[in-house]
Amino acid sequence: MTVPWRVILDKPRRGSLNMSLDYGMLQSMSQRESLPTIRIYRWEKPAVTIGYFQIIHEEVYEDECRQEGVPVIRRISGGGAILHEHDITYSIAMPLRSKTACGKTLDSFRDLCEPIIKVLQEKCLNASYKPISDIVIGNTKVSGCAQARREGALLQQGTILLDVERKKIARYLKVEKDASWNVGCLKDFLGEIVKTDEFINELVTEMIASFQRKWGIDVRYEPFSETEMQQAYKIEQDIFANHEWNENRMAVQ
């Protein structure tokens, strides 16, 4: 039996709005106002997102980010700090009672990473899952993700790194404190082609097809509705563009 899912191939947006739209997806899923949804998106300009529990000054060089116009946004999901610039970002909202989401957290990460791993393997890349939530090629991390679970719904937010500017990462993120930090990108393995529209469109198409095969789902391609956009703007104002949230982690109501 196939279950219809919604796929949103979204346009690049500012960081706070990207996070707001993802949060709206989680809310809609929890209130059963939406089909399960896969969203693929990118970033208008560089932005840093941090995990829900992170302490911003421990993870980010705030002055540098501020001076260079790089917003720092606290996610609703867990995990660590990420510089978004040359990545394909995906988010998935699904019911907690689904087979993938209802078991152990580690199993759900493995399950949700699997379709992406298969796509990379089909490009002759030695991709595999590395617990807790990474996709690696060999020993190099090229994708990470994190989750938020509330009100009967799961939201997974993940990135696939097409390219990384390591000097920029080191300028904005306090990565030196993590000795195991070793992030790579698809460009390291496939070259500049990964930044072409042709490659990106093909990758996204293959990702959606891989998710379809994984869960036996039919998909319908839709943009966000006007109502969803208006809700997202409100969420952005209240939360993800709110200094108090990003700095001090207000409880989300």
Binding site: F53, G78, R97, G103, R150, G216
Partner: protein
């Protein structure tokens, strides 16, 4: 199999409640919940004095890069939080029904505790979930077999 003490009440969101004689409800997450979460690394607890309605968002737990909402299983006012969890959240994994309690609520009236599940009902709920998972596994295997035959 997850532990499910008989003397507690439960929610379908995997919270537990122990109500003492003075009408104080001690609340936490179940053994099943902590098993799903794996290693808990952060806990955010509600502010003492805060009024909660049943099912209100009350606490947040992070484990394994996943953030979980905890709901208030009853209605009332937060009177105490388990502050040691902020430094040692792993206690929830080790002892979810004892030292891993999250917060205490002074019930408002009966606090809507009457609609909570007893231990047998909660165990049955968990078994139904497990049975549904097995059915999904079998459906998936059948689909795979059909694909092979084609």
């Amino acid at each position: 199999m997850s532990l499910t003490p008989d003397d507690l009440r439960y929610t379908k969101d995997h919270e537990w409640v122990r109500i003492d004689e003075s009408g104080i409800a001690i609340c936490g997450i179940t053994d099943h919940a902590q098993e799903i979460m794996d290693d808990i690394i952060f806990v955010e607890l509600p502010e003492p004095g805060k009024t909660m309605q049943q099912k209100d968002h009350s606490a947040i737990i992070e484990s394994e890069k996943s953030v979980f909402d905890v709901h208030s299983p009853v209605s009332g006012k937060i009177v105490e939080i388990n502050s040691i969890l902020e430094e040692t959240p792993e206690i929830i994994n080790d002892d979810p029904y004892g030292e891993g309690w999250l917060f205490k609520i002074a019930l408002k009236g009966k606090g809507r505790a009457g609609n909570l599940l007893d231990a047998d009902e909660y165990r049955e709920y968990l078994e139904q979930d497990a049975a549904r998972e097995e059915e999904d596994d079998e459906d998936e295997e059948e689909d795979d077999d059909d694909e092979y035959e084609e």
